[in-house]
Symmetry: C2
Subunit: 120 residues, 2 copies
DNA sequence: TTGACACATTCCGATACAGGCATACGATTG
DNA sequence: CAATCGTATGCCTGTATCGGAATGTGTCAA
Protein backbone atom coordinates (compact mmCIF):
# COMPACT_ATOMS: atom_id res chain seq x y z
CA UNK A 1 0.00 0.00 0.00
CA UNK A 2 0.99 3.61 -0.30
CA UNK A 3 -0.20 7.04 0.55
CA UNK A 4 -3.87 7.79 1.09
CA UNK A 5 -5.57 9.26 -1.95
CA UNK A 6 -5.75 13.03 -1.92
CA UNK A 7 -9.13 12.76 -3.48
CA UNK A 8 -10.58 11.05 -0.46
CA UNK A 9 -11.54 13.75 1.99
CA UNK A 10 -11.50 17.44 2.82
CA UNK A 11 -8.44 17.10 5.04
CA UNK A 12 -6.35 16.02 2.09
CA UNK A 13 -7.96 18.46 -0.28
CA UNK A 14 -6.98 21.47 1.79
CA UNK A 15 -3.49 20.16 2.43
CA UNK A 16 -2.53 21.64 -0.93
CA UNK A 17 -1.68 25.35 -0.68
CA UNK A 18 -2.95 26.12 -4.18
CA UNK A 19 -6.25 24.47 -3.48
CA UNK A 20 -6.60 26.55 -0.35
CA UNK A 21 -6.03 29.64 -2.45
CA UNK A 22 -8.71 28.55 -4.86
CA UNK A 23 -11.18 28.16 -2.02
CA UNK A 24 -10.30 31.60 -0.70
CA UNK A 25 -10.90 33.13 -4.11
CA UNK A 26 -14.21 31.38 -4.41
CA UNK A 27 -15.43 33.05 -1.26
CA UNK A 28 -15.85 36.08 -3.48
CA UNK A 29 -18.33 34.26 -5.70
CA UNK A 30 -18.40 31.96 -8.68
CA UNK A 31 -15.54 32.05 -11.14
CA UNK A 32 -14.57 30.47 -14.44
CA UNK A 33 -11.48 28.28 -14.61
CA UNK A 34 -9.34 30.58 -16.70
CA UNK A 35 -9.86 33.45 -14.33
CA UNK A 36 -8.84 31.35 -11.35
CA UNK A 37 -5.77 30.13 -13.16
CA UNK A 38 -4.74 33.65 -14.10
CA UNK A 39 -5.28 35.12 -10.64
CA UNK A 40 -3.29 32.35 -9.00
CA UNK A 41 -0.53 32.26 -11.56
CA UNK A 42 -1.03 28.64 -12.49
CA UNK A 43 -1.68 26.93 -15.79
CA UNK A 44 -5.22 26.23 -16.88
CA UNK A 45 -4.75 22.44 -16.75
CA UNK A 46 -3.41 22.69 -13.23
CA UNK A 47 -6.38 24.74 -12.17
CA UNK A 48 -8.74 22.21 -13.72
CA UNK A 49 -7.01 19.38 -11.91
CA UNK A 50 -7.19 21.07 -8.54
CA UNK A 51 -10.81 21.94 -9.15
CA UNK A 52 -11.50 18.34 -9.96
CA UNK A 53 -10.13 17.25 -6.61
CA UNK A 54 -12.14 19.90 -4.83
CA UNK A 55 -15.22 18.83 -6.70
CA UNK A 56 -14.73 15.18 -5.84
CA UNK A 57 -14.58 15.91 -2.14
CA UNK A 58 -17.57 18.20 -2.48
CA UNK A 59 -15.95 21.49 -1.57
CA UNK A 60 -16.84 23.00 -4.89
CA UNK A 61 -19.68 22.76 -7.37
CA UNK A 62 -19.84 23.52 -11.07
CA UNK A 63 -22.38 25.19 -13.23
CA UNK A 64 -22.27 25.46 -17.00
CA UNK A 65 -22.66 28.97 -18.28
CA UNK A 66 -22.32 28.97 -22.03
CA UNK A 67 -18.80 28.07 -22.98
CA UNK A 68 -17.66 28.65 -19.45
CA UNK A 69 -17.92 26.53 -16.36
CA UNK A 70 -18.48 28.52 -13.23
CA UNK A 71 -17.04 27.05 -10.05
CA UNK A 72 -18.58 27.98 -6.76
CA UNK A 73 -17.79 27.29 -3.14
CA UNK A 74 -19.60 24.64 -1.15
CA UNK A 75 -18.02 24.96 2.24
CA UNK A 76 -20.18 22.48 4.07
CA UNK A 77 -17.42 19.89 3.82
CA UNK A 78 -15.17 22.15 5.86
CA UNK A 79 -17.40 22.00 8.86
CA UNK A 80 -16.20 18.58 10.08
CA UNK A 81 -12.63 19.76 9.69
CA UNK A 82 -13.34 22.82 11.75
CA UNK A 83 -14.97 20.72 14.42
CA UNK A 84 -12.16 18.21 14.56
CA UNK A 85 -9.51 20.87 14.92
CA UNK A 86 -11.71 22.72 17.37
CA UNK A 87 -11.49 19.70 19.63
CA UNK A 88 -7.98 20.85 20.45
CA UNK A 89 -8.84 24.41 21.27
CA UNK A 90 -8.55 24.05 25.01
CA UNK A 91 -5.02 22.73 24.53
CA UNK A 92 -3.58 25.56 22.52
CA UNK A 93 -5.15 27.97 24.95
CA UNK A 94 -3.21 26.43 27.79
CA UNK A 95 0.34 27.52 28.45
CA UNK A 96 2.76 24.98 27.13
CA UNK A 97 4.42 24.49 30.50
CA UNK A 98 1.14 23.87 32.22
CA UNK A 99 -0.05 21.28 29.74
CA UNK A 100 0.71 18.17 31.72
CA UNK A 101 -0.64 19.59 34.87
CA UNK A 102 -3.76 20.56 32.98
CA UNK A 103 -4.18 17.07 31.64
CA UNK A 104 -3.89 15.68 35.12
CA UNK A 105 -6.62 18.03 36.25
CA UNK A 106 -8.79 16.86 33.39
CA UNK A 107 -8.34 13.23 34.28
CA UNK A 108 -9.20 13.84 37.88
CA UNK A 109 -12.29 15.83 36.97
CA UNK A 110 -13.47 12.97 34.82
CA UNK A 111 -13.24 10.51 37.63
CA UNK A 112 -15.53 12.61 39.73
CA UNK A 113 -18.20 12.75 37.05
CA UNK A 114 -19.71 10.21 34.68
CA UNK A 115 -17.34 9.62 31.74
CA UNK A 116 -17.49 11.91 28.73
CA UNK A 117 -15.87 9.87 25.97
CA UNK A 118 -15.53 12.65 23.42
CA UNK A 119 -13.06 10.94 21.13
CA UNK A 120 -12.74 11.26 17.36
CA UNK B 1 8.16 18.72 -8.74
CA UNK B 2 5.64 16.77 -6.74
CA UNK B 3 3.29 17.30 -3.86
CA UNK B 4 4.25 19.62 -1.08
CA UNK B 5 6.22 17.81 1.57
CA UNK B 6 4.09 16.32 4.31
CA UNK B 7 6.66 17.54 6.73
CA UNK B 8 6.06 21.16 5.83
CA UNK B 9 3.04 22.30 7.76
CA UNK B 10 0.19 21.33 10.03
CA UNK B 11 -2.28 21.07 7.14
CA UNK B 12 -0.31 18.22 5.65
CA UNK B 13 0.43 16.64 8.98
CA UNK B 14 -3.24 16.23 9.86
CA UNK B 15 -4.17 15.04 6.38
CA UNK B 16 -3.08 11.58 7.50
CA UNK B 17 -5.83 9.72 9.37
CA UNK B 18 -3.41 7.82 11.58
CA UNK B 19 -1.67 11.00 12.59
CA UNK B 20 -5.02 12.48 13.53
CA UNK B 21 -5.66 9.47 15.70
CA UNK B 22 -2.32 9.91 17.39
CA UNK B 23 -3.15 13.51 18.20
CA UNK B 24 -6.51 12.50 19.61
CA UNK B 25 -4.86 9.94 21.85
CA UNK B 26 -2.34 12.47 23.06
CA UNK B 27 -5.13 14.69 24.31
CA UNK B 28 -5.28 12.23 27.16
CA UNK B 29 -1.70 12.97 28.17
CA UNK B 30 1.83 11.91 27.34
CA UNK B 31 2.43 8.44 25.98
CA UNK B 32 5.33 6.23 24.97
CA UNK B 33 5.66 5.09 21.38
CA UNK B 34 4.90 1.44 21.92
CA UNK B 35 1.68 2.21 23.70
CA UNK B 36 0.52 4.46 20.87
CA UNK B 37 1.41 1.84 18.31
CA UNK B 38 -0.47 -0.84 20.21
CA UNK B 39 -3.60 1.24 20.78
CA UNK B 40 -3.76 2.25 17.15
CA UNK B 41 -2.92 -1.15 15.75
CA UNK B 42 0.12 -0.04 13.85
CA UNK B 43 3.72 -1.18 13.90
CA UNK B 44 6.23 0.52 16.14
CA UNK B 45 8.28 1.84 13.19
CA UNK B 46 5.17 3.33 11.64
CA UNK B 47 4.27 5.04 14.86
CA UNK B 48 7.78 6.44 15.12
CA UNK B 49 7.59 7.77 11.59
CA UNK B 50 4.28 9.48 12.09
CA UNK B 51 5.50 10.93 15.36
CA UNK B 52 8.55 12.25 13.58
CA UNK B 53 6.38 14.13 11.11
CA UNK B 54 4.24 15.51 13.91
CA UNK B 55 7.36 16.57 15.75
CA UNK B 56 8.81 18.31 12.73
CA UNK B 57 5.71 20.44 12.28
CA UNK B 58 5.66 21.13 15.99
CA UNK B 59 2.41 19.43 16.89
CA UNK B 60 4.12 17.10 19.30
CA UNK B 61 7.03 17.27 21.69
CA UNK B 62 9.21 14.53 23.15
CA UNK B 63 10.64 13.94 26.56
CA UNK B 64 13.08 11.22 27.49
CA UNK B 65 11.99 9.13 30.44
CA UNK B 66 14.50 6.38 31.01
CA UNK B 67 14.32 3.91 28.19
CA UNK B 68 11.10 5.41 27.02
CA UNK B 69 10.34 8.54 25.07
CA UNK B 70 7.14 10.22 26.10
CA UNK B 71 5.30 12.09 23.38
CA UNK B 72 3.00 14.90 24.32
CA UNK B 73 0.61 17.16 22.46
CA UNK B 74 1.53 20.69 21.47
CA UNK B 75 -1.63 21.89 19.79
CA UNK B 76 -0.56 25.46 19.20
CA UNK B 77 0.18 24.64 15.57
CA UNK B 78 -3.46 23.73 15.07
CA UNK B 79 -4.64 27.20 15.81
CA UNK B 80 -3.82 28.67 12.37
CA UNK B 81 -5.60 25.72 10.78
CA UNK B 82 -8.66 26.34 12.89
CA UNK B 83 -8.64 29.99 11.98
CA UNK B 84 -8.22 29.38 8.28
CA UNK B 85 -11.07 26.91 8.16
CA UNK B 86 -13.11 29.19 10.38
CA UNK B 87 -12.90 31.81 7.67
CA UNK B 88 -15.48 29.74 5.80
CA UNK B 89 -17.93 29.41 8.63
CA UNK B 90 -20.42 31.91 7.31
CA UNK B 91 -20.56 29.95 4.08
CA UNK B 92 -21.43 26.56 5.47
CA UNK B 93 -24.03 28.21 7.66
CA UNK B 94 -25.78 29.59 4.63
CA UNK B 95 -28.23 27.40 2.79
CA UNK B 96 -26.67 26.01 -0.31
CA UNK B 97 -29.34 27.48 -2.55
CA UNK B 98 -28.95 30.92 -1.12
CA UNK B 99 -25.17 30.99 -1.50
CA UNK B 100 -24.93 33.09 -4.62
CA UNK B 101 -27.48 35.52 -3.41
CA UNK B 102 -25.57 35.80 -0.18
CA UNK B 103 -22.35 36.49 -2.02
CA UNK B 104 -24.07 39.23 -3.97
CA UNK B 105 -25.22 40.80 -0.76
CA UNK B 106 -21.70 40.67 0.57
CA UNK B 107 -20.28 42.39 -2.48
CA UNK B 108 -22.83 45.11 -2.31
CA UNK B 109 -22.24 45.68 1.37
CA UNK B 110 -18.55 46.07 0.69
CA UNK B 111 -19.10 48.76 -1.84
CA UNK B 112 -20.93 50.84 0.66
CA UNK B 113 -18.10 50.66 3.16
CA UNK B 114 -14.31 51.00 2.91
CA UNK B 115 -12.80 47.78 1.53
CA UNK B 116 -11.99 44.97 3.90
CA UNK B 117 -9.50 42.80 1.99
CA UNK B 118 -9.50 39.81 4.30
CA UNK B 119 -7.76 37.39 2.03
CA UNK B 120 -5.39 34.53 2.96
C1' DT C 1 30.41 -6.19 29.26
C1' DT C 2 26.46 -8.49 27.88
C1' DG C 3 21.74 -8.71 27.33
C1' DA C 4 17.27 -6.82 27.08
C1' DC C 5 14.12 -3.37 26.19
C1' DA C 6 12.29 0.97 23.79
C1' DC C 7 12.78 3.59 19.78
C1' DA C 8 14.74 5.49 15.56
C1' DT C 9 16.46 4.94 11.11
C1' DT C 10 17.29 2.85 6.63
C1' DC C 11 16.15 0.24 2.61
C1' DC C 12 12.60 -1.59 -0.15
C1' DG C 13 8.40 -1.73 -3.22
C1' DA C 14 4.15 0.25 -4.59
C1' DT C 15 1.40 4.18 -5.18
C1' DA C 16 0.08 8.67 -6.38
C1' DC C 17 0.74 12.96 -6.36
C1' DA C 18 2.05 17.98 -8.75
C1' DG C 19 3.41 20.15 -12.81
C1' DG C 20 4.35 20.68 -17.80
C1' DC C 21 2.86 19.70 -22.39
C1' DA C 22 -0.12 18.17 -25.92
C1' DT C 23 -4.52 17.04 -27.09
C1' DA C 24 -9.37 15.88 -26.85
C1' DC C 25 -13.93 17.56 -25.77
C1' DG C 26 -18.13 20.65 -25.55
C1' DA C 27 -20.55 24.83 -26.55
C1' DT C 28 -20.89 28.98 -29.24
C1' DT C 29 -20.34 31.56 -33.30
C1' DG C 30 -19.94 32.30 -38.15
C1' DC D 1 -20.13 22.48 -41.14
C1' DA D 2 -15.75 24.85 -39.63
C1' DA D 3 -13.36 27.70 -36.61
C1' DT D 4 -12.78 29.22 -32.02
C1' DC D 5 -12.98 29.76 -27.25
C1' DG D 6 -13.05 27.63 -22.59
C1' DT D 7 -12.03 23.31 -20.19
C1' DA D 8 -10.95 18.64 -19.29
C1' DT D 9 -8.02 14.78 -19.84
C1' DG D 10 -3.99 11.88 -20.99
C1' DC D 11 0.82 11.07 -20.82
C1' DC D 12 5.27 11.75 -18.79
C1' DT D 13 8.79 12.89 -15.22
C1' DG D 14 10.36 13.62 -10.69
C1' DT D 15 9.39 13.30 -6.14
C1' DA D 16 7.29 12.12 -1.85
C1' DT D 17 5.10 9.52 0.52
C1' DC D 18 3.10 4.91 3.39
C1' DG D 19 3.91 0.42 4.88
C1' DG D 20 6.78 -3.60 5.89
C1' DA D 21 11.15 -5.73 7.24
C1' DA D 22 15.63 -5.40 8.96
C1' DT D 23 18.90 -3.00 11.37
C1' DG D 24 20.97 0.73 14.18
C1' DT D 25 21.04 3.43 18.58
C1' DG D 26 20.46 4.56 23.42
C1' DT D 27 19.39 3.31 28.13
C1' DC D 28 19.12 0.41 31.96
C1' DA D 29 20.05 -3.93 34.60
C1' DA D 30 22.81 -7.87 35.87
Amino acid sequence: MARAATTSDAFNAIAEPQRREILVLLRGGERPVTELARDLGMSQPQASKHLRVLREVGLVRVRGAGKQRLYGLDARGLRPVHEWVGGFERFWNETFDRLDEYVRDLKQARQEEPPDDDDQ
